[in-house]
């Protein structure tokens, strides 16, 4: 069982009462994490983890230090508080210091499912069986990860702020590989309520992709129209979102400084088809309702029909620039055209369908150029139909180009990516002129 709101209110009050600092901030997070991994159609590890994290930041004037620990006995609490205060007194003054926030008004969180929280650590193997049965029946090697995390987090400040949020999330991803190693497919899902889990159909998708991708034919690297399935789309768009920083833009070391002259906000930098926003209470992909410093997260439009609407901005920089502080996003929603995948495919004369991306890394911050690779299901589209599996590619491409070259999109869904687990509800994207730099021999 995770701690209740009252449990964590009592605990954070107890810690704050020990504080002798000018001001203090306390965070607590308690979690039970059940997770299992499987490979070659057998479970390889099956774990139950009971976890706790506490932290206190103590401030004297603009001097500040934080201590985190994971024990709740009275001595450990006192020791951590004392240590943070002594470290804070020794820390240099921070000219960018911001005092803790007072009580805030938050949206009502909807990131918790009692049904999911009630499932025990032994439940995962039962859930998984249908997926393993699917890969065994197809005579492919199934490998993957199933995780159920139930957590409760709270934040309190000496200025009167308290916020509590329970959460549940179930992640499932599966790779199916043919016995000869010449075909590979992948699929995933992420849900808040385990009643919404679709393990068998997710596994079936991975199996189907694996079998379809056997004996890929050679195709040279070049610029092609592509369909990025939702997982691939989320990995690229996520990178753009994290780069939408007000401070970097003001300091002239952002990709935005190459895209626009002057203030980028209000300029159409991304093309009319691009719209992105965050909403912590979005039912299909809820997130945290507050930032790590206690700012309430609200529905925030980042890009609307190609126009940059907001940049995230920390409290110090907001004060300095006399603009509102805007917390970084906890989730991302990209509305789609709700076209079925087949309809997107039908619009492509000659292009590539991408299931999944891998190892995305920044190459050039000035242009927000990222590199990465395709994997686990890459197909050639010809005359509006998938014609054959093809080799994987390395790409060098910028997420800004993805939005600028966006032609059409499908139905948003909540899937996992290779690079982050932030909840995202995003459609498959049909994008023109995607730059593949070289061929990868990997299957």
């Amino acid at each position: 069982m995770i701690p209740s709101e009252q449990d964590l209110r009592t605990l954070t009050e107890k810690i704050l009462k020990l504080s002798k600092a000018d001001s203090a901030v306390v965070h607590v997070s308690a979690a039970h994490h059940a997770n299992l991994r499987f490979a070659n159609n057998d479970i390889t590890s099956n774990a139950s983890q009971n976890l706790l994290s506490l932290s206190i930041t103590s401030n004297f004037g603009t001097r500040s230090a934080s201590v985190s620990w994971n024990q709740t006995d009275a001595h450990s609490l006192q020791q951590a508080v004392t240590r943070s205060e002594q470290m804070a007194r020794l820390s240099p003054p921070n000219p960018e210091f911001m005092p803790p926030l007072a009580a805030q008004s938050y949206l009502k969180a909807n990131s918790f499912s009692a049904h999911t929280a009630a499932s025990g650590p032994d439940q995962l193997a039962n859930w998984l069986q249908a997926a393993i049965d699917s890969t065994r029946a197809a005579k492919v090697a199934g490998a993957g990860y199933l995780s159920r995390k139930t957590s409760a987090s709270a934040m309190a400040t000496s200025a009167g702020l308290f916020v509590y949020q329970p959460s549940t999330v179930v992640d499932f991803s599966i790779t199916a590989r043919t016995q000869q190693g010449n075909g590979s497919g992948w699929a995933s899902t992420q849900v808040t309520d385990s009643k919404d889990l679709t393990l068998k159909s997710t596994a079936d998708r991975a199996v189907e992709k694996a079998l379809q991708s056997v004996q890929a034919s050679d195709l040279p690297a070049a610029r092609y129209p592509v369909i990025l399935e939702a997982s691939a789309a989320r990995d690229l768009i996520n990178l753009l979102l994290w780069s939408l920083s007000q401070r970097s833009s003001d300091e002239k070391r952002s990709f935005l400084n190459q895209l626009s002259k002057g203030d980028p906000i209000g300029q159409n930098l991304f093309g009319k088809k691009a719209s992105l926003y965050s909403d912590p209470t979005y039912q299909a992909a809820p997130s945290s309702i507050c930032s790590s410093d206690g700012l309430p997260k609200q529905r925030t439009e980042w890009i609307s029909q190609g126009t940059l609407k907001h940049l995230h901005c920390g409290r110090y920089w907001a004060k300095k620039q006399q603009i509102p502080a805007i917390p970084a996003p906890g989730n991302l929603i990209m509305p789609g055209d709700n076209q079925p995948l087949e309809k997107l495919i039908s619009q492509v004369d000659r292009g590539i369908l991408i299931t999944r991306l891998w190892y995305l890394r920044m190459v050039q911050p000035q242009t927000l150029l990222y590199t990465g690779l395709t994997r686990d299901g890459t197909f050639l589209i010809e005359n509006g139909k998938i014609s054959r599996p093809v080799n994987n590619f390395r790409f060098n491409e910028s997420p800004t180009n993805i939005l600028r070259n966006l032609i059409a999109s499908g139905t948003p869904e909540r899937v996992l990516g290779s690079e982050s687990s932030m909840p995202m509800h995003i459609p498959p994207l049909l994008v023109d002129d995607f730059h593949f730099s070289s061929v990868s021999d990997a299957v």
């Binding site: 994490h33 997770n35 490979a39 070659n40 159609n41 057998d42 390889t44 590890s45 099956n46 774990a47 139950s48 983890q49 009971n50 976890l51 706790l52 230090a65 934080s66 201590v67 985190s68 620990w69 994971n70 024990q71 001595h75 240590r83 943070s84 002594q86 470290m87 820390s91 240099p92 650590p121 032994d122 193997a125 069986q129 490998a143 990860y145 991803s173 599966i174 790779t175 590989r177 190693g181 002239k252 070391r253 190459q258 891998w358 190892y359 890394r361 190459v363 050039q364 000035q366 150029l369 690779l373 994987n392 390395r394 060098n396 730059h435 730099s437 061929v439 990868s440 021999d441 990997a442």
Partner: protein, 532 residues
């Protein structure tokens, strides 16, 4: 109370009241990997360990393991004139791992009490037994030796004994030097970690170990106010498994001046023309290439498909053992968890396997000769024993096969330096410092950048390029190596945070290298790649 005095006392107090109460401080230094005398820590947990192991085996475990860990970290991060954050973290907890009917069960908790441990035993046994009748293959354990031992990493100065004021002052001084030299921005920091592990297993091992690691860093950025644009240059200081003496003695003052100068030169430099070119690669860049193109492909769990869903598989399939010409015959790459200052260095891995005596060549004169292995894997390729490569990144983590320190061995000719290698290049680039990195999930196709790219023309350095990346295929790349620096050019690089597994575990690892020359490697202009 003086600041330093306080922190010295404070550290002692924390430890004295924590779970590892009787553990001697790591500043009591062992001079080598030779076993030291068991500390009273062994006595403190002997009874609880015996209880766990007897309970677990009594409930049907053919193998059981009880691990307790306490980790501490301190980090200071600065930018320009400000210390942005000062953090200290201390976590402790325990886990029980059991093998029942050929299936693993694992349970962990931050609470270390007899009652909580009893719950862990029952949970671990239950989730292992749940797999009965459902498995295709049973986990096959090798014969393990029993050890009773204590090991502490050698170091001169425990970084946790030094006042944070001293560290912060040094970092702000670095920033000041950068700003005074013309940088617009400078961030710097120091991260230090202490790991303490206690491992007991049903074979009879009782092992206590502690080690420390440091990661100092800085990054300077210069702007071009007229044309726009910016360029950065990161420090070449590598993280290491060492004491505070490393940070104290590192010549940051000299490096920061050079870094600002090089950032300015890079900002004004011409872009490279994409083409196949000869490369001379400095160890500060090559360590990461070794990590990605040799370290990861030769992990046996990847080759067997265990990591297929995330980190990926490998082009190095088991039938290639002792057959694959991985590199040119001047290349030998060695795995060694006993290496001085190595981030992966430890006396016993987290499966309880002794690392001394388990050093091995992954590539021997160009030929692929061995995989990295953890428990339960050796028999799958017809070997009797694993080779000390298991690691769990916390008390709550299931041990995985992780990299030992994997290093490119110096060339036979001790006189060869980077300059000698450069002298035999007509048209090429000398690459220094690590930058961006990416490689496919079977480790064929890679792309790396760096910090500085020095043009080589007719055997001499001739200015700088910008916007450089090099791309290739792992085996073709290593077979294109035709020159290695001698012993005196060897340097250790590494990372704190190699990610693998689910939930993702972060492992520290070092890679030593000498400067090396590679012929006709594809170079890209990243600005052109961006279509800009």
């Amino acid at each position: 109370m003086k600041r330093r005095t306080f922190l010295q006392q404070s550290t002692a107090t924390i430890t004295a009241s924590g779970i590892l109460a009787a553990c001697p401080q790591p500043s009591l230094i062992a001079e080598s990997l030779a076993p030291s005398q068991p500390s009273s820590l062994a006595l403190q947990f002997a009874e609880l360990s015996d209880h766990v192991l007897s309970q677990a085996t009594g409930l049907g475990a053919s193998f059981a393991e009880f691990r307790i860990e306490q980790s501490a970290s301190e980090s200071i991060h600065t930018r320009e004139k400000a210390v942005q954050s000062v953090n200290f973290s201390e976590d402790s907890g325990c886990c029980v791992r059991v093998l029942v009917d050929g299936a693993w069960g694992f349970a962990a908790s931050h609470q270390i009490s007899k009652a909580e441990v009893q719950k862990l035993i029952i949970t671990a046994i239950a989730i292992a037994k749940q797999q009965k009748g459902k498995r295709l293959h049973a986990v096959d354990l090798e014969t393990l030796n029993a050890y009773q031992d204590t090991w502490q990493m050698p170091m001169q100065i425990d970084p946790f004994s030094i006042a944070l004021e001293e560290k912060a002052d040094r970092l702000l001084h670095i920033n000041d030097l950068a700003l005074n030299a013309g940088a617009k921005f400078c961030r710097s920091g120091l991260v230090q970690v202490r790991e303490q592990k206690w491992l007991a297993n049903s074979v009879g091992s009782r092992i206590e170990q502690s080690r420390v690691r440091l990661r100092p860093y800085f990054s300077v950025t210069v702007l071009d106010p007229k044309k726009g644009g910016f360029a950065s240059r990161d420090s070449l200081a590598a993280p290491q498994g060492t004491g505070y003496e490393y940070f104290k003695d590192y010549p940051f003052d000299q490096e920061i001046a050079l870094a600002v100068e090089q950032a300015k030169e890079k900002l004004a430099a011409p872009g490279v023309k994409g083409a196949p070119l000869d490369l001379v690669i400095h160890p500060s860049n090559l360590w990461l290439t070794i990590h990605e193109t040799i370290g990861h492909p030769t992990e046996l769990d990847r080759a067997l498909g265990y990591e297929a869903n995330f980190a990926g598989t490998s082009f190095v399939k088991p039938p290639l053992l002792d057959k694959l010409q991985y590199a040119s015959d001047i290349v030998t790459v060695r795995a060694d968890r006993t290496q001085a200052k190595g981030l992966s260095t430890i006396a016993y891995d987290d499966d309880g396997v002794k690392t001394s005596g388990k050093e091995f060549n992954i590539i021997d004169q160009g030929r692929f000769t061995n995989y990295q292995m953890a428990l339960g894997q050796a028999s799958l390729i017809g070997r009797e024993h694993s080779n000390g490569c298991a690691y769990a990144d916390s008390f709550s983590s299931f041990p995985l096969q992780r990299m030992p320190n994997i290093s490119l061995q110096p060339g036979a000719d001790e006189q060869i330096t980077a300059d000698s290698l450069i002298a035999d290049v007509e048209d090429g680039i000398y690459i220094v410092g690590s930058g961006s990195w990416s490689i496919d999930q079977q480790r064929y196709n890679f792309q790396f950048t760096g910090q500085t790219f020095h043009k080589i023309k007719n055997g001499k350095l001739a200015g700088m390029y910008k916007d450089v990346a090099y791309q290739g295929n792992s085996v073709e790349f290593w077979n294109a190596c035709d020159g290695l620096g001698g012993k005196g050019t060897y340097e250790l690089g590494g990372a704190f945070n190699c990610g693998k597994g689910r939930p993702t575990q972060s492992a520290p690892v070092s890679h030593g290298a000498v400067p090396a020359r590679f012929r006709q490697i594809q170079v890209l202009n990243t600005q052109a790649e961006a279509g800009a």
